[in-house]
Amino acid sequence: MLQGALSGLAAGGVYAIIAVCLTLMSRLVRVVNFAQAATGMFGSYVAVWMVSKAGIPIGLATVVGILIGGLLSGLIGWIIATWLSEADTSTRSAVTVGPLLLLISLSFILFGNKPQPFQPLLAGPAFTVSGVVISQVTVVIVVLAIVVAAASKLVLSRTSVGTKLRALSERPTTAELIGIPAKPLGVAVWAITGIISTIVIVIVAPSQSNDAIALSMLIVPGAAAALLGAFRRLDLAVLGGLVLGVIQGTVAQIDQVSFVRYFLPFLFIVGLLLWNQRKAVWDAAR
């Protein structure tokens, strides 16, 4: 059981990082970005292609892949900031389904529909807990999730750029009327979260199902984790991701119910939505 729970931490860390990115996007640029993981997938596929087909060293290819993930995300952000700057959150979010499908289709066309031959950037055990081996990937991903959330909180609360971003998220028009440039700041948020998503996918892809759909659909558990913090709180987003990963890992160890692990993010989402709506449901019932 412990082994299962700890093995789920790596996946949980990935969910946590994607949840942090989704929370930042929701708070700062008013979008639930369904293409968050897909841009990371595409950037990491480009890195794999550069290593396996063009013979470029893995370090350089990884950096280029990460930058491409960031650029793609920034491009989507630029399109939304240019043509949908006044649209509501639902419309802006719905639009990101387009790039999600486009990037999956494009990856099939360019790289085929088979899992990619990722070379691991990190391999081997980091340490052992009660006889259970904790991999380097698990340690790095979990630490990365916490660092990204803490760094984001620091930037938002302690820097002038963070203050401007918070102002933009609260009253975009008022912020622009005092000279805060909404478009460049918004595109920067898109690009940075794209870079973070690509980094995490490059790290974990060698150790899990890495076809285009599986990687792009990491958005589902990521969104479930972000929902715990109501797409507002970074700490709860991290906690949600880690808890979801641990539960999935634990359930996978129990043969009779192991199939449930695939549905857990959806159950998590439904459970949280019902919990959040409990007062309205109770009032209606009365």
């Binding site: 002038s160 203050t163 102002a167 028009t173 008022t174 009327l177 005092i178 000279g179 805060i180 909404a182």
Partner: protein, 234 residues
């Protein structure tokens, strides 16, 4: 001396024009009051000047240079600061954060806050927790920190008791004394006219009176006629 000028400006929203063929000049160091009934188009005029909405025809110029399609951010950098209707504060940001947004100059931001003793005590409080009057003080302090050339103020008194608004009005005069051209949209007509040099009365999107503010103050019948859409003999 700076001049903000509008020449034959028409602004449309939805079905049709909300402002038709408005021309006016605002000179730095003066206050111009825009008064008129609700829905007359005063807010739309300010929004067209600051770039929130586009003018469908006519020219808006700053010192003779047409602003054209210049974004609202660029217009703010050119010195046109627009205080929107309602409480234009960022509620989760503290008083200091709100004011410093408008100026990289910390000394200027501190000077702006120091002008209001009420704010001095609540520098680190989220502005969402302040009273309506205090929130408007934050907005005025932020405008002061921005060092505008022209300041567009839209219904600053909305939701405030007249006594609170009276407390804020000297600050508007201070802007003009410092050389800022102020365009003041206000529901408390008499208070607005008492500080303005020039006045325009809007009715149904048209200017029905344009002239010295003192004329309207001294002749209520002229003001009433203009409010009702007539063109007083002036």
């Amino acid at each position: 001396m700076s001049v903000l000028s509008l020449d034959g400006v028409t602004v449309s929203r939805g079905a049709g024009p909300v402002i038709r063929d408005v021309s006016l000049e605002v000179v730095s160091g003066t206050i111009t009051a825009l008064v008129g009934p609700n829905g007359a188009g005063k807010t739309s005029l300010l929004e067209a000047i600051s770039g929130v909405i586009d003018a469908s025809s006519g020219t808006i110029s700053l010192d003779g240079e047409p602003l054209g399609k210049l974004s609202r951010v660029r217009r703010a950098h050119r010195g046109i600061v627009h205080i929107e209707q309602g409480r234009a504060v960022f509620p989760s940001l503290t008083v200091v954060e709100n004011v410093r947004l408008a100026s990289g100059n910390a000394a200027r931001a501190n000077e702006a806050i120091d002008m209001f003793p009420e704010l001095e005590k609540r520098r680190d409080s989220p502005t969402g927790l302040l009273s309506g009057g205090e929130q408007q003080m934050v907005v005025l302090a932020r405008a002061f920190a921005a060092q505008p050339t022209f300041l567009l103020i839209d219904e600053m008194s909305l939701g405030l008791a007249p006594v609170v608004f009276t407390r804020l009005l000297p600050m508007v005069q201070r802007f003009a004394e410092d050389g800022v051209g102020v365009l003041l949209v206000e529901q408390f007509t008499n208070l607005a006219l008492s500080v303005a040099r020039q006045a325009l009365v809007f009715s149904n999107g048209r200017v029905t009176f344009q002239g010295e503010a003192s004329v309207l103050q001294q002749s209520p019948e002229v003001l009433h006629t203009a409010y009702l859409g007539g063109s007083p003999a002036h």
